[in-house]
């Protein structure tokens, strides 16, 4: 066994295996630990045989394995453990502009027929405005939200069906759905081409549970493909409490928004929630690509067969069940963060990119999300304040349009997501996992500066001071936390909607005082007459998350924190005071290498400490 000579600092010097002798038990255990950390598993018999050969070069072996999927996964695990970037079912992402629900009616031949629709879809006919597109008179049914239809179904006439609905070849059945005549139908080769993309079985068969679905029937408005619509206002007077429900409806038709009344007849983008809410021209786009299918009328109907348990990555699922589209979205948001981290480790990029990078990589589902779905949450009541065109955290224009939504396997880079982008800080998974400004700041403080907030022991004096940086008992932590949290002032809580300064200046005179509107109170804090969350550091609000990322990445604690986090994980124990000199040396190695993990991990795994940390004696 030969170990290549290397010039290293004394404190990170490799543990040389003696030349010209068989490996000792300690050598085997060391090699096993290296395999566990760099290959993700113990060595195979063949690898052991190679290790035992006299010309085996362990240094070269280490260098060769400081890259690749297993190495990346090992490091990714460290930061995923710290950041926990995944969301459970309690976070439901079910925006009405996106979810195509499905009702069952009787077709003209008396046989059951599926029709897809969006709840809240604006339609000119007040009988069906904001609701399913067939009236009770046409179908014999009423369609309560999140529940099965009520009434006695009668066959829908062909005329009503032709007027109200159209047939579409949707994206989840055709990979070439953008073609005039799609032909690339979901077939036997799809599992190989699009691994992990499996529509729920109920989406693939007609109501008889036998006939394969080759196209879907959709309400006419939902099938529209225009990017731009015209602002629509019905002119109806808002219904009052107690008014009778018209046209056999189960609810009142939607009211015109303040924005619609003001902007009636003006053009509006269909790629935002505002377009959906205020236009009858905005549909799900070509092949319904702006929408997610659901096999039922419920709130979050099943959409895709997928795994809820993927501890070894999405390609090695531990279960497979039909899940709603919201679970599909959440899982790809999480995958984006994992993929982003992996890429940094595999390519051995500057680790500060985890906070600072403007780029990311996306696959088909993420490309669909950023192009068509992310802006569905914008802009709600903000439209009344003039905010109708989302200022996105990922510019849809930079998302590769070559990716079709079912293409789970192809990941393409986005070099610059947009002016507000900043590493994981502006990814949907981070912004939704940590919904509040303070939670976002706290986890970053903890994961990247290795610090935590510990309250001082003080006698609490009664106080209603809204300024937590001053309130006794709160100030110790909040003096640090509030200015950090202020960097997230312009990112809506539990969402990714950016609040631009043009529409939302730091102070808004009309929002001052106790008589401010509900929208004002939502966005402005009357205690400080400032944007909510900004009071402790207004300048931080405009710097945005990128400002916080810069602060953290340039903090003197950043590199030692990375060293401590990675070393602790690889050694399997906390660093002790006697490790301080070693930690300092490792920090130097890390910084001198341009904040690259490869140099740091190499120094750790070649150190005597690492070898001694894995000293199980038989």
């Amino acid at each position: 066994m030969r170990i290549r000579a290397a010039l290293v600092l004394a404190l990170v010097a490799p543990v040389a295996l003696a030349a010209d002798r068989s490996p000792t038990l300690a050598d085997y255990r060391y090699y096993r630990a290296l395999s566990i950390d760099l290959l993700g598993r113990p060595p195979t018999s063949a690898e052991l045989a190679a290790f035992e050969k006299p010309d085996f070069d362990l240094d070269a072996w280490i260098d060769n394995h400081l890259t690749g999927d297993a190495y990346a996964e090992r490091l990714e695990r460290i930061y995923m453990d710290a950041l926990r970037l995944d969301l459970g079912n309690s976070f439901q992402f079910v925006p009405n502009p996106v979810v195509l629900r499905r009702e069952t009616v009787l077709g003209p031949d008396g046989q059951p027929l599926y029709i897809y629709y969006r709840r809240g879809q604006r339609r000119t006919d007040p009988k069906i405005d904001g609701d399913f597109c067939l009236t009770q008179a046409e179908s014999g049914l009423q369609f309560p939200p999140n529940a099965a239809p009520t009434g006695s179904a009668t066959p829908v006439s062909q005329e009503a069906l032709d007027v109200r609905t159209v047939v579409v070849k949707p994206w989840w059945l055709y990979a070439d759905y953008r073609e005039h005549e799609p032909t690339d139908f979901a077939g036997a080769d799809w599992p190989k081409r699009f691994p992990g993309f499996v529509p729920a079985p109920a989406l693939l068969v007609e109501p008889d549970n036998k006939t394969r679905t080759t196209s879907v029937r959709v309400c006419r408005e939902e099938a529209q493909t225009a990017d731009t619509g015209i602002v629509y206002a019905s002119g109806r007077k808002p219904a009052k409490k107690g008014d009778p429900l018209p046209f056999g409806r189960l609810n009142q038709p939607p009211n015109d928004t303040g924005f619609a009344r003001l902007a009636k007849g003006r053009a509006i983008s269909c790629l935002s929630g505002t377009g959906f809410q205020n236009s009858v021209d905005c549909g799900c786009g070509v092949g319904l690509e702006r929408c997610m299918p659901g096999a039922g009328p419920q709130n979050d109907p099943p959409s895709f067969v997928m795994s809820a348990k993927t501890p070894l990555g999405a390609d090695l699922p531990f279960d497979a069940n039909a899940q709603p589209a919201s679970a599909w979205a959440r899982s790809w948001w999480s995958e984006e963060a994992r993929h982003f981290l992996d890429k940094i480790f595999v390519d051995d990029r500057d680790f500060r990119e985890v906070l600072l990078s403007h780029g990311t990589e996306v696959n088909g589902p993420l490309a669909q999300f950023y192009r068509f779905i992310a802006n569905a949450t914008c802009c709600g009541a903000g439209a009344d304040a003039g905010y109708t065109r989302p200022d996105p955290l990922v510019d849809p224009g930079v998302v590769p349009d070559a990716l079709v939504p079912e293409d789970t396997a192809t990941w393409l880079p986005i070099v610059d997501r947009g002016p507000h982008a900043s590493g994981i800080l502006t990814m949907p998974i981070f912004l939704t996992k940590y919904g509040s400004r303070r939670a976002r700041a706290h986890v970053l403080y903890n994961a990247f500066l290795c610090k935590d907030f510990v309250a001082e022991t003080v006698k609490l004096a009664p106080s209603d001071d809204p300024d937590l940086t001053k309130r006794p008992g709160c100030s110790t932590c909040h003096q640090t936390l509030e200015p950090m949290a202020a960097y997230f002032t312009r990112v809506a809580e539990s969402d990714w909607t950016w609040l631009p300064a043009t529409q939302f200046p730091m102070t808004q005179p009309k929002c001052a005082g106790p008589k401010a509107s509900g929208l004002c109170k939502q966005i402005y804090d009357p205690a400080f007459d400032k944007l909510r969350g900004a009071y402790a550091a207004p300048a931080h609000a405009d710097a945005g998350p990128a400002g916080l990322a810069q602060d953290i990445a340039t903090a003197p604690e950043f590199a030692p924190c990375v060293v401590e986090t990675v070393a602790q994980s690889l050694l399997g124990r906390p660093l002790a005071p006697e490790d301080d000199a070693w930690k300092t040396e490792l920090s130097k190695v890390f910084v001198d290498a341009g904040y690259r993990m490869k140099a740091l991990v190499r120094a750790i795994v070649r150190s005597p400490r690492y070898r001694d940390a894995n000293d199980v004696k038989p």
Partner: protein
Amino acid sequence: MKPLALALLTACTAQTLAPSSPQPLPAPSASMIDTTPKARRRMVPPEVYLRAYLTWFGGLAPLNVQNRARPKGLFDAWDDYLAALGLPDYKIDLPRQTQSNTLMLATLGRLGEALCVRAAEHDLHAQNGKLPVDQRVVFTFDVNDDFAASLDVLHRTFLGYPLRLAPPDRLERFHTLFTQVAARHAGAKQPLSADETAWAAVCTALVQHPEAELY
């Protein structure tokens, strides 16, 4: 306990007992305190253990493992075990378990046992033991080989080093295990022969060995 019980009984009566000098407490027969060192013993991450299983037992996918281990009640579904294995669940902020626990070890052991039995069925029992060695998954040796040589193959697979470097009594202990299991199953009507069952037991013992579960 007896003097105390007697004292309680007598307390209920009007009888008085003459005072006596206190007697020393009897020495406990067994220490209930686990004094084995813990600080430096650490489990390999559960992800690694899962990957190890997938590798050891023939490059399986997790759902294949479940299907393979499930028959005959040896294993249920991953869902029942993943949390016990110590995996974190970021969805519900369940942190990674860094210390082993009995549930975890029982789960790993049960899974290892199931897969060892399946491997014995595939490698040793199928084709009456005539399956070529290069087509075997775990028992990649000729059953007619010397026991030590065969054990060495398994020892290297599961523990990562040759048997000759193990404590001197290891060979003997495993041989005893083998012969006892084989003797216990001699003539029994079951899918595996006595020797095949004994090899499955050796495999299980190695998979469950602390050296396989620790770094």
